[in-house]
């Protein structure tokens, strides 16, 4: 009985999310198309032939380690940053918006607040996976249109100079897809929980600041590093940023955010937004 209630609640959340955020999803698709066109144009211009991994690298690659000095210039990797902050914008406003704009009608129809929060987190995860799925599909279609392969010829991502030959499919899938999704999920859950207490705008800002700090500091504490392919241990050689460590840290962050959020949400008064 409880499971059926949970499933109904999750389905409600997914439907409500899409109904409320249709325009945001359309814009997300437009951003993916823009990234796809820009990526393949750049690859074909510089490398002559395209492949899926090189295309994904253009967005997911991020930036190499930043070495601070008085002569250095700190710049954010624009497309990696755009990809992630739009995702945070897409998911971050939903729970607080649904809670306050609906006057708690959905909340009182759940059995417990815990169920409500779990359902919100699950629906956010579903949306993150769909966002990545949409992006991958767009890149796949772009690659097909350009007549590219999946693995680069010669096993080297030319524009980045990274060797992928010899890597298993599992390793490549983990590095290119699974780990970035884990990072986005952990940060998404954290943002969602924060948004209930500090507001959606501040939680969005905090996430942006965290991602910026991840680019600045190549440390395992800043899990944004794991979503940048340049910084993963198999590319950078930094053993502190191993794939396993990344997945564990993402799990810890998501679990901790959820647990703390649950404790605080149980005691929270749902009053109209001032």
């Amino acid at each position: 009985m409880k499971y059926r209630n949970m499933i109904r609640l999750i389905l409600y959340d997914i439907r409500y999310f899409f109904r409320q955020n249709r325009w945001k999803w359309l814009f997300a698709f437009m951003i993916h198309v823009f990234l796809c066109i820009r990526t393949f144009h750049s690859i074909l211009f510089y490398a002559g032939s395209s492949d899926l991994l090189s295309a994904l690298w253009q967005t997911m690659g991020g930036a190499r380690e930043y070495l601070l000095s008085s002569d250095s210039s700190f710049q954010l990797p624009a497309y990696w940053f755009l990809f992630h902050i739009y995702l945070f914008f897409l998911i971050g406003f939903y729970p607080a918006g649904e809670l306050y704009s609906g006057n708690g009608q959905a909340l009182v129809r759940t059995r417990t607040r815990a169920m409500w929060l779990i359902s919100k987190c699950i629906s956010v995860v579903v949306n993150i996976v769909l966002y990545y799925g949409c992006f991958l599909l767009t890149m796949l279609i772009g690659n097909l249109v350009c007549g590219g392969t999946v693995i680069p010829r010669g096993g080297i991502i030319g524009l980045a100079g990274i060797r992928v030959a010899g890597k298993s499919v599992t390793e490549l899938l983990t590095a290119f897809i699974f780990l970035p999704v884990c990072v986005s999920t952990a940060l998404g859950v954290m943002q969602v929980v924060l948004s209930l207490f500090v507001g959606p705008v501040l939680s969005f800002m905090l996430n942006i600041a965290y991602m910026t700090a991840s680019v600045f500091w190549m440390k395992p504490f800043f899990i944004g590093n794991y979503s940048m392919l340049y910084r993963q241990s198999w590319v950078s050689g930094n053993t502190n940023l191993s794939v396993t460590g990344g997945i564990l840290r993402c799990l810890v962050l998501a679990s901790l955010s959820f647990a703390v959020g649950m404790l605080l949400f149980q005691k929270k008064d749902i009053l109209p937004e001032s």
């Binding site: 820009r38 601070l68 008085s70 210039s73 710049q75 705008v201 501040l202």
Partner: protein, 269 residues
């Protein structure tokens, strides 16, 4: 309109969201000072040329996290106190009450003016504070051209002024920052005509800012990226034409929104 302007100014500056907005800027400034300025105090004369406050303050460099965070997030922070005021007024009855007493034109003019002032002040005050704090720790030595110690060159905007009268350069550049961020902040008011979501209204200036950055990066014309050219150290060098065009373009949205609202026959949203 005078009374209405006074009321809106009080509303914008006597606002509990103004405090976190200023704390953000001042907090970054203090952090920057402790992280980068305080450790330099023993090294002022260690190099070829003495360290100068003009090259080390928050706006004078582009290597620190704090300066990047400031120039990245300041559009959101500027819109926090007053960005959703149009929507709140339209959702409640106060907008209609103001309009029937003073007319639509003064109402919308006041909104745009106050949002401009809020944005300008929130952007500029922390920078001024940081410059004062840095100058209290490092000497404000006039930078020397030709040594390559500063990113400003003759091609930079007001490059000659930087080497001749750097203090005036800082003030003028902060004025440019105020003008740009103030203008950007008016987008949050203009957005009120196109969306009913107050978070969208608050974030519209930030998205416009990011759109300009992405556009500049995509077509490899970095002079279009405000997050770079607005820094007094000019991470990207722009021209007066591009700066003017961007400011005019931003204002045109505000003016278009105002015009559309005044001409609307069915009144408030």
């Amino acid at each position: 309109m005078k009374h209405y302007l006074r009321m809106e100014l009080k509303r914008a500056f006597w606002n509990r969201r103004l405090l976190p907005a200023l704390i953000f800027g001042f907090g970054l400034s203090v952090w920057h000072c402790f992280a980068y300025i305080v450790p330099l105090r023993g090294w002022i004369f260690a190099g070829v040329y003495p360290l100068s406050a003009y090259n080390r303050w928050l706006g004078g460099e582009y290597y620190s996290l704090q300066s990047t965070l400031f120039y990245l997030l300041v559009p959101i922070v500027c819109a926090l106190p007053y960005g959703d005021s149009w929507l709140c007024d339209c959702a409640g009855s106060i907008g209609g009450q103001a309009v029937i007493r003073g007319g639509k034109r003064p109402f919308v003019q006041t909104k745009l003016l106050v949002s401009f002032l809020t944005g300008a002040l929130i952007a500029v005050l922390p920078l001024l504070f940081d410059f004062a704090l840095t100058s209290a720790m490092l000497p404000a030595i006039v930078p020397k051209a030709g040594l390559g110690l500063s990113p400003i060159s003759t091609k930079s905007l007001l490059g000659d002024l930087f080497y001749a009268k750097p203090f005036w350069y800082v003030l003028v550049y902060l004025g440019i920052n105020g003008l740009f961020f103030g203008s950007l902040n008016t987008l949050s008011i203009a957005a009120g005509l196109f969306t009913a979501n107050r978070y969208m209204a608050i974030l519209t200036p930030f998205f416009c800012y990011m759109a300009l950055h992405c556009a500049g990066t995509t077509i490899q014309r970095f002079e279009l990226c405000p997050s770079g050219f607005l820094r007094p150290c000019q991470q990207f060098i722009t021209t007066w034409v591009i700066l003017g065009a961007e400011v005019m373009g931003i204002w045109s949205f505000g003016v278009f929104a105002a015009f559309r609202y005044i001409r609307e026959e069915h009144g408030m949203r």
